[in-house]
């Protein structure tokens, strides 16, 4: 298989290049957040004596579980990290779902409708997630 012969500079900044970069960098951000989240949970577990699983469960379901973290700054940091992860995952997922849809559906109107529906869904779902996580 041949290696890439055209540099990013020569490719130009088209929509495809932007979406390629967006998908790659959101996935790198997700890996970073996963590693930081696991290390953070392990560190908090050591400091507070709480179970790592309980900390992670509360972080993703703050409205269903008791806050195991004593200090306010820990709570804020954990919530911000989970929100960042949800937003990045949502952005990455929207592009992926639309790419799959576009590959198997050839009708232009079906593609347009799918794009509108999926993007609207992603925006609404992200807002709901942010609201619940922040307000819990």
């Amino acid at each position: 298989m041949a290696a890439r012969t055209l540099s990013l500079k020569k490719r130009g900044f088209t929509f495809e290049v932007f979406m390629w970069a967006f998908t790659r960098f959101t996935v790198i951000a997700m890996y970073g957040l996963i590693i930081a989240g696991i290390l953070g949970a392990l560190s908090l577990s050591q400091q507070t004596g709480m179970n790592v699983g309980d900390i992670l469960y509360w972080a993703f379901f703050p409205n269903l579980a008791e806050n195991p973290l004593g200090q306010v700054w820990m709570t804020i940091l954990a919530k911000l990290m989970v929100i960042a992860f949800v937003l990045v995952a949502c952005g990455h997922g929207v592009h992926g779902v639309l790419e799959i849809w576009d590959d198997y559906v050839t009708s232009e109107s079906a593609r347009r409708w799918a794009r509108n529906i999926v993007i609207t869904y992603a925006v609404v779902a992200s807002i709901v997630a942010m609201y619940v996580i922040l307000s819990a």
């Binding site: 298989m1 041949a2 290696a3 890439r4 790659r24 996935v27 790198i28 890996y31 993703f60 379901f61 409205n63 269903l64 995952a89 949502c90 997922g93 992926g96 779902v97 799959i100 576009d102 198997y104 050839t106 009708s107 232009e108 779902a125 709901v128 997630a129 619940v132 996580i133």
Partner: protein, 120 residues
């Protein structure tokens, strides 16, 4: 992006592209599974008890982990090869390493799920 497909859907799905094509298809299935999981997660956050019960169901967890972990590990391989094109000539070796990593990680994750579901 073309608006016309030159081959039928069944012919496309039956394409024998080897391990690279298998990872491509599994990556798409995994991505779709994660999108469904995201929806279940959002509905759980909204307080829907049926969705919370679904997230606790071992069959749902098995499907999510089987496909979700493959998507994550395969995505890491794609990202590394994409950002380092010189490594592309080793893509078959990368896929083999990926399978080993996937079997180890998914095996451990499923072991935990099954142990919690069936005790022991």
């Amino acid at each position: 992006m073309g608006l016309n497909r030159n081959i039928s859907l069944s012919a496309g799905l039956g394409y024998k592209g080897g391990s690279a094509y298998l990872t491509y298809i599994l990556h798409r299935i995994g991505g779709s599974a994660l999108f469904i999981f995201f929806t279940v997660y959002i509905l759980s956050l909204l307080g829907m008890e049926s969705m919370q019960a679904l997230m606790g169901n071992w069959i749902f967890q098995t499907v999510f982990l089987t496909f979700g972990l493959f998507h994550a590990i395969n995505g890491l391989r794609i990202t590394i090869l994409d950002l380092s094109p010189k490594l592309m000539k080793h893509y078959r070796a990368a896929i083999n390493i990926e399978w080993v990593a996937y079997i180890l990680v998914a095996g451990f994750a499923l072991l935990v799920v099954f142990r919690n579901a069936f005790g022991g």
